[in-house]
Symmetry: C2
């Protein structure tokens, strides 16, 4: 609550980092005008695949997962933490969401009218370029992911997910995963049972230390090796 001031105005918000750094104070004010803040409890859905996509979402607190609802099971595309934004590809196509988003932890997000966003893209080339760069990075990430999912065996896929969690999400080595084993499975494209089994194997081999939801990568080199050999 003492941080509520942060979201009082975009100009002072930490959201200003990232691609927003190229916006002028006046442009930020426009974003600020068409913005409102929402809180989500763990498990609550931010938006659902297939629904209209009138907002651009900026995550200011918590953790969310982006996932495609496939044939009977989900595939988690990414986890999103502050300060990061969620901008689906449907916005410039048919204004629909192509994946769903749900809160993992207690989460706060700012929703901004997508038309304001589009207008700024048109009028500020720096902003547009930052945005395109952003989309590009996302595409590259997806490439890595699809290769991991389609060409590696389970241990390699789990290894990739563990590195992702440590480096991109939690940012420290003994890290406590707030996502479930099912989520872990949905991230690595396997069944929940398999993800548990692999985790146990890695633990038995002394590569990981797993106690409840706390994971520590003990033998980084060997885990890297597993990631490489598929």
């Amino acid at each position: 609550m003492n941080k509520m001031q942060e979201s009082e105005n975009c100009k002072n918000c930490s959201c200003k980092t990232s691609i927003f750094s190229s916006l002028t104070p006046d442009e930020l004010e426009q974003i600020n005008q068409g913005r409102y803040t929402v809180n989500y409890k763990p498990g609550e859905i931010l938006f659902k695949q297939g629904t209209p996509s009138p907002h651009f979402v900026c995550l200011t607190k918590g953790l969310a997962k982006l996932y495609i609802e496939g044939y009977g099971k989900n595939l988690i595309l990414a986890l999103v933490k502050p300060v990061d934004y969620i901008f689906g590809p449907g916005t410039y196509v048919d204004n629909r969401h192509y994946y769903s988003a749900a809160a993992v932890d207690e989460t706060t997000a700012c929703l901004v009218d997508v038309n304001i966003f589009k207008k700024l893209i048109r009028q500020n080339p720096d902003f547009a370029e930052e945005f395109i760069q952003r989309l590009s990075r996302q595409a590259i990430f997806n490439f890595d992911q699809v290769i991991s999912l389609t060409q590696k065996q389970m241990p390699g896929r789990i290894a990739d997910v563990l590195f992702y969690l440590r480096e991109k999400i939690y940012g420290k080595n003994p890290f406590e995963i707030s996502i479930s084993r099912q989520d872990l499975a949905d991230l690595s494209g396997m069944s929940k049972e398999s993800s548990i089994r692999i985790l146990k194997e890695l633990k038995d081999e002394g590569i990981l230390k797993v106690t409840g939801n706390t994971v520590e990568i003990l033998n980084e080199k060997q885990l890297r090796q597993i990631s490489q050999t598929g």
Copy 2:
């Protein structure tokens, strides 16, 4: 050869369709200045994953495949036919290619200096928007693909590829595939042997008619069913 006039100047080129429609004659002329045309024989490589990416590529004749070189095998992301362009995500990130491209048939392409392209993105908002829309469509396509690859069994994946070939690439029903069985396998994320087997099964069930490289979808409804049920 009698079509060489097409590529004499961008203003008259059929490339002008697609996203280039939003460019002014003057801007097209800029593209035209920094452009040169290259011919490729089947199998020849247009560019290679990991190399610098100084050009934006516009395919004016033939057929090419875009593929990621993974761990021991390739994954074909898409086939590209005229008039379509190839613009990798690395251009706005680190100026490297994140996938390779190779000619499948006899192919002609125009290479355009990427800096001219970037400059036009900055100065023409319509063009920028068209481009973003383009990237978005590509991302959506990749989503469909990754779900197909990770959540469907082999018959469903082959069905998806067959629909893709018919609808997006060859555009008619008895179609002659110029790609190899290995390519078919790389498109559907399986071994060459498996792709052959599935093709045979579909043939035996009367869903397809396969004679050499000519494929006809006989029972569309049933094939659609196979695609759905995974």
